[in-house]
Assembly symmetry: C2
Homo-oligomer: 234 residues x 2
Amino acid sequence: MSKRRPLSPLPRLRARGDSVEVDRVELTDLTPALLPYLGQVAYLQLVVFESLSRLISAAADLNEKAMLSETAGTVLTKQQGFVAEIRRAGEDPAEVMGPFTDAIDEFEKLTRGKDWAERLTSIYLTMGLLDDFFLRLSGGLPGDVGPRAAALLGADSRDDVIIEILQRAIAHDPRLASRLAMWGRRLVGDTLLMARSALHVTGDRKSDESRIEPVFTELIAAHTRRMDALGLTA
Amino acid sequence: MSKRRPLSPLPRLRARGDSVEVDRVELTDLTPALLPYLGQVAYLQLVVFESLSRLISAAADLNEKAMLSETAGTVLTKQQGFVAEIRRAGEDPAEVMGPFTDAIDEFEKLTRGKDWAERLTSIYLTMGLLDDFFLRLSGGLPGDVGPRAAALLGADSRDDVIIEILQRAIAHDPRLASRLAMWGRRLVGDTLLMARSALHVTGDRKSDESRIEPVFTELIAAHTRRMDALGLTA
């Protein structure tokens, strides 16, 4: 958790536009079960959308409302894309998402934060890490779902908007920096646990820790870069 | 308000896809001031989006959440389109929306409804009427903004989703029909007042009541068709 930024340049975390970068450690030798994968991602996006909507409602600043609504739009696009994949698989979205609502709601509560700035930081960091995680996992999906899932998860999610708002808040109140840094460090643990449990739920028995570990190391490095973007020490 | 559906077929209220029907009474001889027009529409969409988000959060049914998130996506697309128009005009969205927040917030409170079904009915009816109104007003906008505004407001707003959910709720609890019918009748008055005040704010001195009246008659007829779609008597 106290890992510093590596000295060597790292690939950009998130491709802009529709192209998805592939120079990352993938989990392609894992073959996640399709429906648990889709159900978890679809419900996670729904929860992120709801959290973001609450922040938009609570935002005092009209410009921040308008800015965050762009981020909310990208989350909705992802959410609808995964719901469409569930329907394409001939299944009912509610039934496929249903088994994961308790665990994900619990995760959301645990990582929610106690004020506006912490909540926005949570969305930025947990959504970033989990999208990244599910993107790495998408290569092993059956049929042609993988590339579509990767395109949805790899699309620009307008993090720039969140970063700008949080940087501004930190500049306005420098004490916020240490509080959010601490909060970010706490979040990474819970979020990695969520990812790990998602991996077990998608039920690949071939997965062993030695193969998964490098991916988690990369997820942590990407988390550190997200913290850096806010000017915070991870 | 107690107007019955006319016997002759009426043009479809809302074009599907990107095409916008033009066989309607337009307000093209009015020339609304650009920024008040954009500011009001952008803020209205933001308020509708926030209301819809609250309903998504409060929805007990996962399928309804997923369905309504599609509607929320269309509202966001409109909202972002109008924010983009404000930026294109070289102005700051928050400054342009700012003067209208009090009146529109007040309107939202007045038309909010006291439970989930009333709230969803409000979104459907008030958004429908006001989008329709601003669409008719768009022809008089300066430059090439008009056609773009019309395309945004005339795009499919996934009312079908709201209609389906409300029809289901009414089928489940038939007493809801009379309560929502009464609520819909109350809403039309407040919403027409909002439209009328928007017309004055956009500040066209040429506008006189005799020219505006046929448009309001059409807005009421369209409202009646929306009520009909729910199986309610307007």
